[in-house]
Symmetry: C2
């Protein structure tokens, strides 16, 4: 059979779960991983250990792949262009991916599209940050390095000019954004294929703790059909305008407009399977991982609809004790319907080492089950 080979750059948990989703599809999966111990490298058959920042390594890896896709957004744009020049389909392509790599490029493009963003501009030094604050409602403001940040890294919450020096120390461009007084965070996840087919998952609520995603509720409770529809349309429009191929997560702030009506602002874009879509593994007809694989191969996309009234995802972070197996056993015994997803990673405090999904008809109960299991695995709940 001439089933194609998907080359995945990056050995993290997103690659691991994409491989899992690719097994029933019958596709071949090839992995470029930093080490043989990486999350995905533990479970994939065809693994190349190498450095994605090295073009020769990438080129060698790409030989024999029908398409290249990504576990993360850190591959240099010029390398992606070189692969394309070699004739290897790169999905998402570098012209799309740059919007997820560079927050400055992303904001400029969203502005050009008329997509709603927080007030923002590139700033040059602490005095310029103070000027940016004064242009709006004053401090606090958010500073972000335009490249390389994630999960709260590369992001600063700045209360005055004096504390605005650190982001500039690395000598890289810094983006200032107003601190949005949001009601909550949402995410609109869509998947788009090269021939333009696209599907939209239900809009979810994403609850963050210390800048890290903690809990996702699908669908977002008490979200009006109208605003959900607008958020989905916005995500689909961004995917189409940016020519995204694969999964696109549009992280949103839910706010109130000048008339007090619910509105959304775009917070971040991610062009790969995303934490806010992990609930789809157990809660949707087709998971984000399966649809990402289908999209990058230009296969028809699968049904994104939910399978349960409510699905809740809670991230499992590392706690103080290194061996999670006994807690894991306890959680399975306590809740036979709990869906555990472990990443095979060593436990370090605060590190994402897995997630759990629960689903059912009663949101309070579904939320409690997920959060209890995540807390028990982390060690913050002991009964």
């Amino acid at each position: 059979m001439t089933f194609p080979v998907v080359g995945m750059v990056g050995g993290g948990q997103l690659a691991r779960m994409t491989h899992e989703a690719g097994i029933p599809l019958g596709i071949r999966f090839k992995l470029l991983s930093d080490t043989p111990q990486d999350s995905a490298a533990q479970v994939v058959g065809d693994v190349v250990v190498g450095d994605y920042r090295d073009l020769d390594t990438l080129r060698e890896f790409a030989r024999g792949c029908d398409v290249i896709t990504f576990d993360h957004e850190h591959v240099p744009t010029e390398h992606l262009r070189a692969l394309q020049a070699d004739g290897i389909p790169v999905r998402p392509g570098p012209d799309a991916l740059v919007h997820a790599q560079d927050k400055g490029v992303m904001r400029a493009r969203l502005d050009a599209l008329g997509a709603p963003s927080p007030r923002h501009r590139i700033v040059t030094d602490p005095a310029d940050v103070a000027a940016f604050a004064a242009e709006g409602d004053g401090f606090p403001v958010i500073l972000k390095t335009v490249r390389g940040g994630y999960d709260g890294k590369g992001v600063w919450f700045v209360r005055d000019e004096a504390s605005a020096a650190e982001p500039f120390r690395a000598g890289v461009p810094v983006l200032a954004e107003e601190k949005v007084d949001f009601v909550r965070e949402l995410a609109a996840n869509v998947v788009r294929s090269p021939h333009g087919q696209a599907v939209a998952y239900p809009v979810v609520e994403s609850r963050q703790v210390d800048g890290v995603c903690d809990t996702v509720i699908a669908p977002a409770p008490d979200l009006s059909e109208e605003l959900a529809g607008r958020a989905q349309e916005l995500a689909l429009r961004i995917a189409a305008e940016l020519d995204v191929v694969g999964h696109l997560a549009v992280e949103l702030f839910e706010t109130r407009d000048a008339d007090g009506e619910p509105a959304v602002l775009v917070n971040e874009l991610a062009m790969r399977p995303h934490n806010s879509g992990h609930w789809t593994q157990d809660g949707a007809v087709t998971s984000q991982f399966a649809n990402h694989v289908r999209a990058v191969l230009d296969l028809p996309l699968g049904d994104p609809r939910p399978r349960a009234r409510w699905t809740v995802m809670a991230n499992v972070l590392g706690g103080d004790y290194p061996d999670m197996y006994q807690a894991y056993l306890h959680c399975m015994a306590r809740d036979p319907g709990l869906k555990i997803h472990m990443y095979g990673k060593d436990v370090k405090p605060g590190r994402k080492v897995g997630h759990v999904n629960t689903y059912g008809d009663d949101l309070d109960e579904v939320l409690d089950r997920a959060q209890h299991a995540a807390g028990y695995l982390r060690g913050t709940i002991t009964e």
Copy 2:
């Protein structure tokens, strides 16, 4: 983290799908495969290529595994005992597994348990077959080699003494069974752990074509709650009495007793994930593969309940054309809710190369979608 290593003997599709189910569980999976091209060997990271009939190979493979389990029932009993003597847990153990390996042992044990079987006895030659027939309602009778048969292989439908010679040519013991005038075939699938926890999946209807499973409907339509309960209890009792660990499929004939009331007879036993349980991947809270892994590791078992009113599994057999990819693409486009499971096998006419699952509220529609996709992939349906 001290997550355990499951050693799987055999590289077929059952091993492939067990690996898929083990990824979210965070367990390590090690495979002993006949060739590097076997279905599971394509997708597993830690693969040993070797011959399971060689004890040294098995012993070397088992080193570093926390438990050994199986994709098939062909490992010699004495080898399993040797592994046990080395201190490696073998699950299911050889004393249980022999009942799935040897149909003579299985029938004798079921008789001792008072479990209902078709009329049967070991026969020695064609004249003895004629005697067996005369002891009951006459020909036709079914002859089976006690070891090594599956999917219609090693099974003969014999209409008279003259045609009963072939099964004896191999010089192995032959079991004769009455030809049961059954209403339909059912399967009762259960999973049992070493500490005795057990779960029962809904009883399913299994439709065979040419001795090969074609379609499975979960739950079996129009099956009385009373008979379904009896079938589940029978399967749970067999699992407990035979000390089965892992998944046990009890294939059943639905018949009518002397009073015309519905009854069941045991047809076959399989001690591993089974074709009649493939529907659980998309139709149950916990799949048979995930529960098999949980059982052999003595982890608490997952909820076996169905997620949809009806789930239908249809096997995809190889047809006349070797490249299934275009048909696969067509099926995805036609039915975005179709769940395809391909095994990565080369197409040969009649070979099982995958299966599809569909689910929903309307049985006719769910059945039609599954059978259309399976037929289209095989090439027997072209529109």
